[in-house]
């Protein structure tokens, strides 16, 4: 089976996010009011061949934790769909 994985990487809560903060500071000047807690992140997508969803999830999670995110400061979230 083939699965499409989407991994979203963000800084952990509590780790300062200068990019998110800078975006947030720019919002009022653009007329966006009432927007708060902006966090910047990155998104990756890839396809995995695996016998079942569990195996695909294991591969994608390991890939995210070993390479795509630095667990010291970042966390990742995985979405998986069969294609």
């Amino acid at each position: 089976m083939r699965f499409r994985a989407r991994v979203e990487v963000q800084l952990r809560p509590g780790i300062a996010d200068p990019e998110g903060a800078t975006i947030e500071r720019a919002l009022p000047a653009l007329g966006f009011d009432g927007v708060a807690h902006v966090r910047a992140g990155r998104s990756f997508s890839f396809e995995v061949d695996a016998p079942d969803e569990g195996a695909a999830r294991t591969t994608a999670t390991q890939l995210a934790d070993r390479l795509l995110a630095n667990p010291v400061i970042e966390q990742s979230r995985l979405e998986l769909e069969a294609i």
């Binding site: 800084l11 780790i15 300062a16 200068p18 795509l68 630095n70 010291v72 400061i73």
Partner: protein, 228 residues
């Protein structure tokens, strides 16, 4: 015989020749090592130089950590060999797990290229063994991701074990690092990472000779390692 200091060249490294010139100015022989090699050519110390290893794609150091040479660097470090990561090299060492913590984007998102005033905080490392605690050194920094970050427990350990080797001087913390950290060492003091570039402060022609005490420390540590 002069101690041999290997300087690893990753695709995108750009300070390797400066480091070679710096260590040769204080009596070592500099040797370029290629990141794709799996051996260290019998060197007595290893430097991971500044630059943009693998284009800094993903995160600085994230891909360099998987370069073939890094297994040998890890073995050399675990055997007690002196290993120093300068700037991008520091980022590689944290990504490789040879030093704790991580280097985040600078606070205020500014690329910094300026002389930094530093204070030697510990002499229990291969890079500061010939300095004196409290020495003030002016050494250039040149980075976008030099904001040292770690959790509270790690910071407590670094302090308790005297592993913070360099701090930015009192009134400066240009990148927002935790505890104004500019450089740290591992538990044994043989692996050191720092954001400032001592090789760029190794001659009065460059505006400062303050980096020489660090380079001399590394060369004498390499000599000790060679004799062992």
């Amino acid at each position: 015989m002069a101690p041999r200091i290997g300087v690893v060249v990753f695709p995108g490294s750009n300070c390797e020749h400066d480091v070679i010139q710096g260590v040769e100015a204080v009596g070592a022989e500099g040797v370029l090592l290629w990141h794709g090699d799996t051996r260290l050519d019998g060197v007595d110390a290893v430097v991971l130089p500044g630059g943009f290893a693998h284009g800094d794609y993903l995160r600085p150091g994230a891909l360099a950590r998987f370069s073939p040479v890094m297994d040998a660097v890890g073995d050399f470090a675990r055997a007690g060999g002196p290993v120093v990561g300068i700037c991008n090299g520091f980022q590689v060492l944290t990504e490789a797990g040879l030093l704790p913590g991580a280097l985040q984007k600078n606070g205020r998102l500014r690329f910094l290229c300026q002389p930094a005033r530093l204070v030697v905080a510990s002499t229990s490392s291969v890079l500061t063994c010939e300095a004196t605690v409290g020495d003030e050194l002016v050494i250039p920094i040149n980075h976008f991701s030099g904001n040292y970050t770690c959790d509270a427990a790690t910071l407590e350990r670094l302090r308790a074990e005297d592993r913070i080797v360099l701090r930015y001087a009192d009134d400066e913390n240009p990148n927002g690092s935790v505890d104004a950290i500019a450089g740290i060492a591992n538990e044994a003091g043989n692996v050191v990472g720092l954001m400032p570039h001592p090789e760029r402060a190794s001659s009065t022609l460059l505006g400062s000779e303050d980096g020489l005490v660090l380079l001399r420390s590394l060369v004498s540590s390499a000599a000790v390692s060679a004799a062992a």
